[in-house]
């Protein structure tokens, strides 16, 4: 018995980001912040953002507790979203939701490439929320809300 079969879900990049999320930091100064909850399991993720002068999202920090999937997803999200205008982030989020639900994507959004390691989650329906939790918090922050509605 081994866990080779779960490598589709737990790729090295996920294990790495899951273990040591580089962007896990509470911004002391921020323009918007929102939290998301995964009530089923107690995972929680707070995202804080600073806007750049041009309206793009300049800096993103998150504070989270949760599984490897949600931590890695949050960390990769920061990398993929930082520096982009809100509408780009919303489009990217939508592509990302498609990716983790179906395991695949037709989108040509190049920013999605860095998120592809998370596509394996589609095989584990109950884990999809782990991957989308940080995104739900980020989208809520962009909308000026403080709580992501649990879908």
């Amino acid at each position: 018995m081994s866990f080779d079969a779960v490598r589709d879900l737990y790729q090295d990049v996920i294990l790495r980001h899951g273990r040591n999320p580089v962007h896990m930091q509470r911004l002391e100064v921020f323009d918007a912040a929102a939290s998301g909850d995964n009530p089923m399991c107690g995972d929680r993720c707070e995202v804080r953002i600073q806007y750049a002068p041009d309206g793009a999202v300049g800096t993103i920090g998150f504070d989270a507790r949760g599984c490897a999937i949600s931590m890695a997803s949050a960390d990769l999200m920061v990398e993929a979203a930082t520096g982009r205008p809100p509408e780009d982030i919303r489009a990217l989020a939508s592509d990302f939701y498609g990716l983790v639900r179906t395991g695949d994507t037709a989108s040509e959004n190049t920013a999605l490439a860095a998120l592809k390691p998370l596509s394996g989650v589609a095989e584990y329906p109950s884990r999809i929320k782990c991957a989308t939790l940080p995104w739900a918090a980020l989208l809520a922050a962009l909308d000026g809300q403080t709580e992501a509605s649990s879908e």
Binding site: M1, F3, V6, C67
Partner: protein, 424 residues
């Protein structure tokens, strides 16, 4: 009266007195030979819901194929026979719990509905605003939220008895809450679904009574593993849920002392619970029917009856002995795994083991185990306040049933070792 219906329908009944043989028992559960993700199923999530023996499946099919109609209201053969089958399960449950009377057995959908029934009916009908309901820190949400709703609607205070670091009810604190609290009702689990802890039911009940409080036990977990005797523990209310006791979903039980049921107003209104109806005024049927509005879960009661027969045939003594041995083995084996922490170390505990692991979140543990066919649960187990008390977000939980084997526990331990290295 106990046992007959189920025994008739059961395939391959065990011979009474024949020693407990888990391999034989597993043959009674068709699902246990299934594969999951290409691996043999190792089902260690029975505390969430147990698998069903063939006797239960057959009893329900058999009823639908040969003897079914609505109950109580029919004068024809099918209705009379179905009524007999349904009502005889009341006798079985009364005997299971050693209840003084079959009329004290009320069928509900599950534990949750049973507790809500008490919270609505006894809570609003008998308890007075200003009185307290006392629960514990280790309750399932089903034994928390109904009392919160009662608090908010009816002005009841909600008191919470702490658990010790070992995961046991803090008896001293419990007693002083009773002493100070004007407590009308204690509602407490008979066995924790997170820690495996048994509460010392007779002592807990005696204390409640000494301070003039009634006591409800949430027997959802307890009744699966050991015989429950409501007279021996001197309970006032006892509730459990069929699907954890190897029965179908959709059926649960409230037992309460007749004098309490008599004082309680009905909860749901409708057919079957009335004596007479006019637009001005309706009068209620006698208990237990007063609390069973509408067409009951007939087939599910029949399934529950078969499950109780099945458990009785094996015998609680044999079940408890087997599960004690499993639990001891699991505690010993899991303790050897580096960085694995077993949550709770109650003196008196059953086969429900929660744990955490350094560097591995409970979700990730569950997913990795599932990949190898091993089903465990991960999360807060519907006990968020207990998680807060323990300073945890979630745990992984392995739970055992009468069909669990030592080999399955070894497989769990082996795979947990792998999980550890995977995340290191």
């Amino acid at each position: 009266m106990v046992g007959d219906a189920g025994a008739m329908n059961q395939i391959g009944p065990r011979i009474p007195g024949v020693p407990f043989n888990v391999d034989r028992i597993r043959q009674d559960f068709p699902i246990l030979s299934q594969s999951v993700r290409g691996k043999k199923l190792v089902f260690l999530d029975s505390a969430a819901s147990a698998q069903k023996p063939r006797a239960v499946i057959e009893a329900m099919s058999h009823a639908m194929e040969t003897q079914y109609a609505n109950v109580h209201r029919g004068l024809h053969w099918m209705s009379e026979r179905t009524t007999d089958a349904y009502e005889s399960v009341r006798d079985q449950v009364a005997s299971l719990l050693n209840a003084p009377s079959r009329d004290e057995i009320v069928f509900t959908r599950n534990t949750t509905e049973a507790i809500n029934l008490v919270a609505h009916s006894y809570g609003r009908g008998v308890l007075q605003p200003g009185q307290a309901v006392l629960i514990s820190e280790m309750e399932h949400h089903s034994n928390i939220v109904p009392w919160q709703m009662l608090r908010d609607a009816h002005g009841i205070r909600l008191l919470v008895a702490p658990v010790t670091d070992a995961g046991e009810l803090d008896m001293a604190a419990y007693e002083s809450l009773l002493a100070d609290g004007n407590v009308g009702l204690v509602a407490i689990t008979h066995m924790s679904n997170v820690l495996g802890t048994y509460t010392p039911a007779a002592r807990v009940a005696a204390l409640a009574h000494r301070f003039g409080a009634r006591i409800l036990f949430d027997g959802s977990q307890a009744v699966v593993h050991r015989a429950a005797d409501v007279q021996a523990i001197d309970a006032d209310f006892y509730v459990f849920t069929g699907h954890k006791l190897y029965g179908p979903t959709g059926i649960g039980v409230l037992w309460a002392r007749a004098e309490l049921l008599d004082r309680m107003p009905p909860f749901l209104g409708g057919g079957d619970m009335i004596s007479s109806v006019s637009f001005e005024k309706s009068t209620w049927a006698r208990v237990p029917h007063k609390f069973e509005a509408g067409t009951p879960a007939i087939l599910e009661a029949i399934g529950l009856g078969a499950a109780i027969s099945y458990v009785n045939e094996i015998g609680y003594d044999a079940i408890a002995a087997h599960e004690q041995s499993l639990t001891d083995h699991a505690l010993a084996t899991l303790s050897t795994i580096d960085g694995l922490y077993i949550i709770g170390r109650a003196q008196d505990r059953g086969g429900v083991i929660s744990f955490t692991m350094d560097g591995a979140h409970a979700h990730d543990i569950a997913t990795l185990l599932d990949r190898n066919g091993i089903a465990v649960r991960a999360g807060h187990h519907c006990a968020e306040p207990l998680m807060q008390r323990l300073g945890l977000d979630s745990t992984a939980r392995a739970s055992f049933a009468l069909y669990t084997t030592h080999a399955e526990i070894d497989a769990l331990a082996e795979n947990l070792e792998r999980v550890r290295s995977f995340f290191q």
